[in-house]
């Protein structure tokens, strides 16, 4: 195999995708003897990791979500897009990516502040929603849609049901066996709910993609007698809720972060 034949396969190798056994073997042989292609493979992985870490996944603006649904009458009369557009023209056009380099930093800063303002008070509301989700799951005897202690069963179950793939970690060895997973609805979106057990106590762990990439430290709170923990890691939001005491719940969060 020549370098030019290996080139397109490097992405697939880096992504763990779609190579036939023959392709994989030939690529291995080529890589063994070709330093530049080994460097190109590292490059594939590095660019991929950097994109995943740093590039924003733009969530749909709430008002657009509302308009979409409102604009779905019984089949006829396409909504007046031009009218929406006219309304929007009045609003300030503000987009960091369209501005030149000199303004980009300021734009990002302003955007960051906006996000911060927009999320003010959101934590409390979410903590409430999370506790409600927990209580609901216990009351309705609807803990799990997929009951399994095997994360190789639980993780694939979510595929096609969610627009993201939640990390599923088994913590049986640490004293928190996984008992299953289900879909739940929080923060106006479908989220993954993972259920762990610790003695007689149940822990609901809600996971969904965060608005912004990166990580955020552990924050603890209580609501209606339940302990709630929140953190963000690798662009995912985590909310853990349980009647476990705060210390034990933190141990659980620690084990989860160590195991992920």
């Amino acid at each position: 195999m020549e370098c030019q034949d290996a080139a397109p396969l490097l992405a697939a190798r880096a992504d763990g995708q779609a190579l036939t056994a023959a392709q994989a073997r030939e690529l291995d042989e080529h890589l063994d003897g070709c330093g530049p292609c080994r460097a190109r493979l590292r490059e594939q992985r590095a660019v991929s990791a950097a994109l995943r870490q740093s590039v924003p996944r733009y969530p749909m603006p709430e008002d657009l979500r509302t308009r979409l649904r409102a604009g779905l009458p019984a089949g006829e009369a396409a909504p007046a897009r031009s009218r929406w557009r006219d309304l929007l023209q009045g609003a300030t056009r503000f987009d960091g990516l369209r501005l030149g380099g000199a303004f980009a930093a300021g734009a990002a800063l302003a955007l960051g502040l906006q996000l911060f303002v927009a999320t003010g008070g959101r934590g409390d509301r979410l903590a409430d929603e999370v506790v409600s989700g927990h209580v609901r799951s216990l009351m309705a005897q609807h803990l799990a849609d997929v009951a399994s202690s095997d994360h190789h069963t639980v993780k694939p179950w979510f595929a096609g049901k969610l627009d993201f793939s939640p990390p599923v970690t088994d913590l049986a060895a640490q004293g928190y066996p996984l008992t299953g997973g289900r879909l739940d609805y929080l923060d106006s979106r479908a989220v993954a709910a993972l259920v762990y057990r610790h003695g007689p106590h149940l822990i609901n762990l809600f996971v969904w993609p965060a608005d912004r990439p990166g990580s955020a430290p552990l924050a603890a709170g209580t609501s209606r007698g339940y302990n709630v923990l929140h953190w963000q890691r690798d662009g995912m939001n985590y909310w853990a809720v349980s009647d476990l005491n705060a210390g034990e719940l933190k141990t659980f969060a620690g084990a989860l972060q160590a195991g992920a």
């Binding site: 995708q17 779609a18 590292r42 996944r57 979409l68």
Partner: protein, 178 residues
């Protein structure tokens, strides 16, 4: 779900299938049009199209189905609204690509380059490459799903991802500025 549904359950079913994927739909439109207002127009158009075509949806992966419609809407929208743009073919792009040094500090480089540079570099990448990278890195779709959405063979997905990542790194290093 058979199209024998009356209007209300039909709309409810459509809502159920599409709602989990609206962020993905917007994100794709946002990256392909490179403009938040254009993305809104495209998503609205795509959503109505999806509603009209929904009786043809045979179940299965609602995300890939919706994203394919968004992707096609983006492409026809871009063709209608195309700003004059110099044609740049692949062979020209290849010249930007210096092979990384043997034990080159790629990881180091990418750690140091900041988020804005990365966003700008991805934004400026040609559409074909940007599209597969967004579907792969941000939506975390499989090659097969990307091939279905972009209506290209899986080998094309592979080579576009390879080249796209190499181009991106080259541009971050400053070889491909301009």
């Amino acid at each position: 779900m058979e199209p024998a549904l009356t209007a209300a359950p039909f709309a409810r079913e459509f809502d159920r299938v599409t709602t989990p994927h609206l962020d993905a739909a917007y994100n794709l439109a946002r990256w392909l049009t490179r403009d938040p207002h254009d993305a809104e127009d495209v998503v609205q158009e795509a959503y109505l199209r999806a509603y009209r075509f929904f009786s043809g949806f045979r179940g299965g992966d609602g995300r890939a189905w919706l994203l394919a419609i968004v992707r096609n809407t983006c492409h026809s929208w871009l063709a209608r609204h195309r700003r004059p743009q110099a044609f740049q073919d692949f062979s020209e792009l290849e010249e930007e690509l210096a092979a990384p040094q043997d034990d080159g500090p790629e990881q180091q480089l990418l750690r140091e380059c900041d988020r804005q540079q990365l966003v700008r570099a991805l934004t400026q990448l040609p559409l074909d490459f940007r599209e597969v990278l967004v579907l792969r890195e941000l939506e975390e779709l499989s090659y097969q799903e990307i091939a279905d959405i972009a209506a290209v063979p899986i080998g094309t997905v592979m080579s576009r991802l390879s080249r796209g990542r190499r181009l991106l790194r080259a541009r971050l290093e400053g070889h491909g500025e301009g």
